[in-house]
């Protein structure tokens, strides 16, 4: 199975030959890849080197936390890649943005109102969790299309709080 994996902007051609061998670009390597305790923590012995990392899906990508550094990896299989064509700016970039609660908490304030224009970085909602007040900011310029919560309300993780057009 052939994959094209992009990490921090660099592409790697990774071919899974069998359970114990992969090819990265031109290098053929012995691998031994095992999950630890059934967790999303993996032990990889590759060409004799021993690594351990947290590896978990993050939307369409994969996150790899290795040696205290976080790597975002996009893994496409070769067919998929051919279908999509080269490049690959993901769609949906200009659609509505839904601000979701990154954690459960208490809405302390919503300093914006529906219909208001906001700028990237502007505070949209203040959410209290773990005794800290966290400012949730606009990821881009836009117009507040809908506010779905009120101050004083308790929200669940991933609950949509507010939408931007």
């Amino acid at each position: 199975m052939k994959y094209i994996t992009t990490v921090n902007g660099t592409e790697f051609n990774v071919e899974i030959l069998d359970d114990k061998h992969i090819r990265i670009n031109d290098k053929l390597l012995d691998v031994d890849f095992e999950s630890v305790s059934g967790q999303p923590v993996f032990s990889l012995i590759i060409g004799g080197k021993s690594y351990e990392a947290y590896v978990s899906p993050d939307g369409d990508n994969w996150e790899v936390l290795l040696h205290g550094r976080l790597y975002q990896a996009e893994v496409e299989d070769e067919r998929e890649r051919r279908l999509h064509g080269a490049g690959g700016v993901s769609a949906n970039e200009n659609g509505e943005f839904h601000l979701k609660a990154p954690m459960p908490g208490l809405v302390v304030a919503t300093p914006v109102s529906e219909g208001q224009s906001v700028q990237k970085g502007q505070v949209l909602i203040i959410l209290e969790s773990m005794k800290m007040q966290n400012e949730l900011k606009a990821p881009r310029d836009g117009i507040v299309s809908r506010i779905r919560i009120k101050s004083g309300e308790t929200v669940e993780q991933k609950q949509t709080l507010l939408s931007l057009l």
Binding site: F12, L29, Y51, A53, G68, R69, M103, S129, M132, Q133
Partner: protein, 500 residues
Amino acid sequence: MFKKVLVANRGEIAVRIIRACRELGLETVAVYSEADRLALHVRLADEAYLLGPAPSRESYLRADKIIEIAKKSGADALHPGYGFLAEREDFAQTCLNEGLAFIGPKPSSIAAMGDKMTARETVRKAGVPVVPGTEDVGNMSDENLLSIAPKIGFPLLVKATAGGGGKGMREVHSLDEMPELLKSARREAESAFGDGNVYLEKLVEGARHIEIQILADGHGNVIHLNERDCSIQRRHQKLVEEAPSPFLDDELRQRMGEVAVKAAKAVDYVNAGTIEFLVDKDKNFFFLEMNTRLQVEHPITEMITGVDIVKEQIRVARGRPLQYKQEDIKINGAAIECRINAEDPYNGFMPSTGKITHSLLPTGPGIRVDTGVYPGFEITPFYDPMISKLIVWGETRAQAILRMRRALEEYRIVGVRTNIPFHQTLMDSHRFMGGQYDTRFVEERFAIHDDNDPAIAEIAAALATLAAHQQTQRAAQFVQRNERDTSNWKWVGRWERMHR
């Protein structure tokens, strides 16, 4: 001489206190909120009583219920830990009125140091240097503060009068932005302490936050256990502490210790406490505040002095004289503490909640982990994000840093995100290694690195590809099943089954 101690706290500090009590042969009573039924402090105590629902105000801040439980259980002493009710003089007074030994200072000392403006005045009169700032005592209106601010000069800090831990604190760079910042500081202070009063203090630039640990008994003996350097902060929250400070020399250490003892004596202090100072580039030091309680970072002092501060607190509260004299206190090696928080360092340090599904503690020589969590425990949004303290000791500071690096590399926590990568980056930074940092270092001159070692990026690519490949292979096997319900536990369950 009391025999049964109610621990009016939760998390790692409740566990720490229960351990000290047990090692002294004292019985322990835990209190807990509905979210904490299976918390470690409940599991380890001899007795445990429910306080109420998860929010602190309905549980750990319910002084009335705590006193009621103390009486019902026959506890004859109470340890407040830090936070919650630890620095409420009225609570300390109620304990005494109800015949409970309060393992902490006298209510009058808490009062004198608790109002930060009064405290400044008290120690200033005792000859302790203070940071320039508002000098009146009493609640001040926004108008009042806005008029005083230019006299102090910018940048300055708005600080909560009842404050501590960076809550209700705001940095102000100009008069223009001040009204808005006063508002948010008061709001946060009100929510954290039930008291929205604030005061102003000059922002000492390039300063280090260095604090002196005090121990005092009821027989007039006051000693200090040297300093802790707590300058590694983010949003005024301490993240890393070390002892001794790489910035102090013996002469300054001794002077600061003497001044700290003086400040403690000024409020007739008994039990453990901490005098916080700012030390500027020229090694001038200013009193900041006194924490009239056990401090989060007390273990690093324990590591370098060999003194068990919690046990000593208990002995002092039992009326015994201190076991140590000033000349018994020696610094042996160096210790560092990293606060491990459930927060995502790659996403603005946003708190992270969830169930811890797995953990692996670093162990071995010179390592201590103080924690209140374990695999299977749920991190809720109700309390502080600190889930553990990783403390290391080394013969030298360099050895302590190397040990901390290996401990951080070994530490695994699965189920919530943690700031361990932040600490790893910090321990690798040349400025930290060189001891060259101040309280603004993390925010201004430090970034969690995204430097890209190509060899490691290649390994990351291999890992991601292997994991994705494995997932694809497995998805093929599961395709017939009804996969609609992918709620978390099912996923975890499936994951586990797949990996057996």
